[in-house]
C-alpha cells in the first residue's frame, strides 16, 4: 500500500467514513480505546517529563522491558490472564529492575548507562525464558506476542481501563500537589537538598510512578515503545517553555493528542498497531517542536546566529583596538 494509492478519491472517502465511525463511538471498544490512548499519552507525557529532565530517559525503556518476567510469573502463579495479578506482577518486576539499576550503578567500576542496559536485557531475557516455558506448558495461551510488544489498545478490557484511569488520576493529582518540590529537585538537586527537600525519596517515588505508568500503559503501546511515549512528549515540550508548569502542560497535551491521533490512525489502517502509530504522531510533533519551537528550536537558533555574526563583525570593524598589542621579541 504505497502513498500513491492513497490519493485515489475512493480511499479518501473511506478514511473519512472510518473517521466518523471512530469518533461517533459506534462501538464500545472504540470509546475505550480512545479514552485509554488519551490517558496513556497524557500520563506518560507527565511522568516522562521528569525522566527526560533528570537524564533518566532510558530508564523508561528498562522499566518497559523488565515487566515481562513479572507478567510471566504472575501468569504462572495465577493460572489466568486476569488483570490484577498480571499488573501486580508487572509492577513488582519493574520496581525490582529500578532497584537493581541503582545497586549496579553504585557497584565496582560501574557506568549508569551500562547498568540500564544490563538490567533491561537480562530481565527481558528472564522474561523470554519464562514465556517460552509458558508456551510449552500452559493450557491457556497468553495473548498474542505482537500485542504485548507493540500494543493493541483496541483490546483493552474494562478492568485495564479502570486501572489506567485510577493511576492517571492518582499520579496526576500527586504531580500537581507536589509540583514545587518536584520541580526544584529536578532543576537544582543540591539546592533542593539544602532547603530540606527529600531528594532521595523523590527519586524513588519517581521510579515507582514510572513503574506504575508503564504497567498500565503496556496494553496500549506495548513493551518496546512505551519508552517512546515517556520520552518524546517531554523532549518536545522543552522547546516551548522554560518553566515547569508550561513544560509539563505541553508534554501532557502533546502526549494526549499523540495518543488520540495514534489510535485514530491505527483504527483507519488495518494492520497498523497502535504503538507505532502513536509514536510516529508523537515524533512528528517532536520534529515540529525541534524545528520551530521558540526556545532553542532550529529556526530561531539560525536567526540568532546570524544576528550574532553580524554584531561581532560590526564590533570588530568599529572598535579601535583598545588592547595593548605587544609583539614579544624573539628568543631571550
Amino acid at each position: 500500500m504505497g502513498a500513491a494509492s492513497l490519493m485515489t478519491a475512493l480511499e479518501v472517502a473511506e478514511i473519512g467514513a472510518r473517521t466518523v465511525e471512530f469518533f461517533s463511538f459506534k462501538y464500545a471498544f472504540v470509546a475505550r480505546a480512545l479514552a485509554a490512548s488519551i490517558m496513556v499519552g497524557g500520563l506518560c507525557g507527565a511522568v516522562g517529563t521528569f525522566l527526560v529532565l533528570r537524564r533518566l530517559s532510558l530508564m523508561g525503556d528498562a522499566a518497559g522491558h523488565s515487566t515481562l518476567p513479572g507478567i510471566c510469573v504472575a501468569f504462572l502463579l495465577a493460572g489466568s490472564v486476569s488483570t490484577l495479578p498480571i499488573m501486580a506482577g508487572a509492577l513488582v518486576s519493574a520496581l525490582l529492575a529500578a532497584i537493581v539499576v541503582g545497586v549496579i550503578s553504585r557497584g565496582p567500576r560501574s557506568r549508569s548507562d551500562a547498568a540500564i542496559g544490563i538490567v533491561l536485557s537480562v530481565f527481558f531475557g528472564i522474561g523470554i525464558v519464562l514465556l517460552s516455558h509458558i508456551q510449552r506448558v500452559a493450557t491457556t495461551s497468553y495473548a498474542g506476542l505482537d500485542a504485548m510488544l507493540l500494543g493493541n489498545v483496541a483490546g483493552i478490557s474494562p478492568e485495564q481501563l479502570t486501572a489506567l484511569a485510577v493511576v492517571t488520576v492518582v499520579l496526576g493529582g500527586a504531580t500537581l500537589l507536589f509540583l514545587r518540590p518536584l520541580s526544584i529537585s529536578t532543576f537544582d538537586p543540591s539546592f533542593a537538598a539544602s532547603v530540606g527537600i527529600p531528594v532521595r525519596a523523590i527519586h524513588y517515588a519517581l521510579l515507582g510512578a514510572l513503574s506504575l505508568s508503564v504497567v498500565v500503559s503496556v496494553q496500549a503501546v506495548g513493551v518496546v515503545l512505551v519508552s517512546a511515549m515517556l520520552i518524546i512528549p517531554g523532549a518536545s515540550a522543552v522547546y516551548w517553555f522554560k518553566r515547569m508548569p508550561g513544560v509539563l502542560g505541553t508534554a501532557v497535551g502533546l502526549g494526549a493528542l499523540s495518543g488520540a491521533l495514534g489510535a485514530w490512525v491505527s483504527y483507519i489502517f488495518e494492520g497498523v498497531s497502535t504503538g507505532p502509530a502513536m509514536v510516529l504522531v508523537a515524533t512528528t510533533f517532536f520534529l515540529c517542536s525541534l524545528g520551530f519551537g521558540p526556545r532553542g528550536g532550529l529556526l530561531w537558533r539560525a536567526v540568532r546566529r546570524r544576528e550574532r555574526q553580524r554584531a561581532l563583525v560590526a564590533r570588530a570593524d568599529a572598535s579601535t583596538s583598545a588592547s595593548a598589542y605587544v609583539e614579544a621579541g624573539g628568543g631571550l
Binding site: A322, S323, A324, A328, G330, G331
Partner: protein, 253 residues
C-alpha cells in the same frame, strides 16, 4: 630573530551575544616559556581549545609554522585540564605514555627500540618510571598530571599548550613540572601554559600574556605587570591587586 612558530590573528569566540575571546592576536617564537594569566572567565582555556581545534572559533586565523587548518593542529601538543579523563579506563601508565607515539607510529607501525627509549625517557623525566604498570585510577592527582605530561613529551613536538597543569597538584610535582618545561625551552620548544597563580608567574615564565577576553599585554613580567594593565584585566578588584601588583612587578623575568 627566529621564525615565528605560532601566529594568531583576530581570534574571536562567542557562545551567545557576548564574545568570550575577542579579537585576539599574538605571535610566538621558539625558546619561549609563556604564562597565560587573567581572571576567571577570561577565556584562557577557551582560547587554547580553539587553537587545538576542540572548539570552533567564530572569527580569526591561526598559523602554525606557516600552515593552517588540520595540518596545523597536528603540530601542536596539547595537555588539557585533568578533569575530563576516564580514570576507570583499563590502561596503565605505560600505555598512556605510549599513546604519545601513536602519531608517528600510525595504525600498524611496530614499536621500535627508539620508541621504547622515548617512552622510558619521558617517564623518567617526570619521575614516574616506577609506576609504569599501574592502572591510572590508582594514582594521585599530581601523579596523574605527570603521566599526561609524559605523554606530551613522548609526542616529541616543539609547540606545547598546557591548560592549568598546576591545579590541584602538590608542591613537589609543581616544581618537577616547571623543571621539565624549562628543559623544553632550552631545547628550543615554544611552551604556552595557562596559569592561575599570579604570585609565581614571574618566577616560572619569561613571557607573560595578560588577558581578559582581549589580549591586554604581552611581554616580560616587568613590562606587563603595571598598575594600568592589571586594572584593565582585573577590573574592580583593584584594592586586592595593588599590593600583589607591586610584589609581582618587583619580581622580574
Amino acid at each position: 630573530m627566529s621564525e615565528a612558530v605560532l601566529k594568531v590573528s583576530g581570534l574571536t569566540i562567542a557562545y551567545d551575544r557576548e564574545p568570550v575571546v575577542e579579537d585576539f592576536s599574538f605571535t610566538t617564537y621558539p625558546g619561549q616559556l609563556i604564562g597565560i594569566v587573567g581572571p576567571n572567565g577570561a577565556g584562557k582555556s577557551t582560547m587554547i581549545k580553539a587553537l587545538v581545534g576542540s572548539l570552533e572559533a567564530d572569527l580569526g586565523d591561526v598559523w602554525v609554522k606557516g600552515v593552517q587548518g588540520k595540518k596545523a593542529r597536528k603540530l601542536l601538543t596539547y595537555v588539557p585540564q585533568r578533569g575530563s579523563v576516564d580514570w576507570d579506563f583499563p590502561v596503565t601508565v605505560y600505555d598512556v605514555v605510549k599513546q604519545g607515539r601513536y602519531g608517528k607510529l600510525g595504525l600498524l607501525g611496530r614499536m621500535t627500540k627508539k620508541d621504547r627509549e622515548i617512552i622510558d625517557d619521558a617517564l623518567a623525566k617526570v619521575a614516574m618510571q616506577d609506576f609504569a604498570g599501574r592502572q591510572i585510577g590508582e594514582l594521585s592527582g599530581g601523579q596523574q598530571q605527570r603521566v599526561f605530561l609524559a605523554r606530551a613529551l613522548a609526542q616529541q613536538g616543539d609547540i606545547y599548550l598546557l591548560d592549568e597543569p598546576f591545579t590541584g597538584v602538590d608542591a613537589k610535582t609543581e616544581a618537577a613540572i616547571v623543571e621539565v618545561l624549562r628543559e623544553l625551552r632550552e631545547q628550543g620548544a615554544c611552551v604556552m601554559v595557562v596559569h592561575h597563580d599570579l604570585s609565581t608567574v614571574g618566577e616560572y615564565f619569561d613571557t607573560v600574556m595578560l588577558m581578559n577576553k582581549r589580549l591586554i599585554a604581552m611581554g616580560s613580567t616587568a613590562e606587563v605587570f603595571n598598575k594600568e594593565n592589571l586594572r584593565n584585566a582585573y577590573g574592580g578588584k583593584l584594592a586586592i591587586f595593588d599590593a600583589d601588583a607591586m610584589a609581582v612587578a618587583g619580581q622580574g623575568g
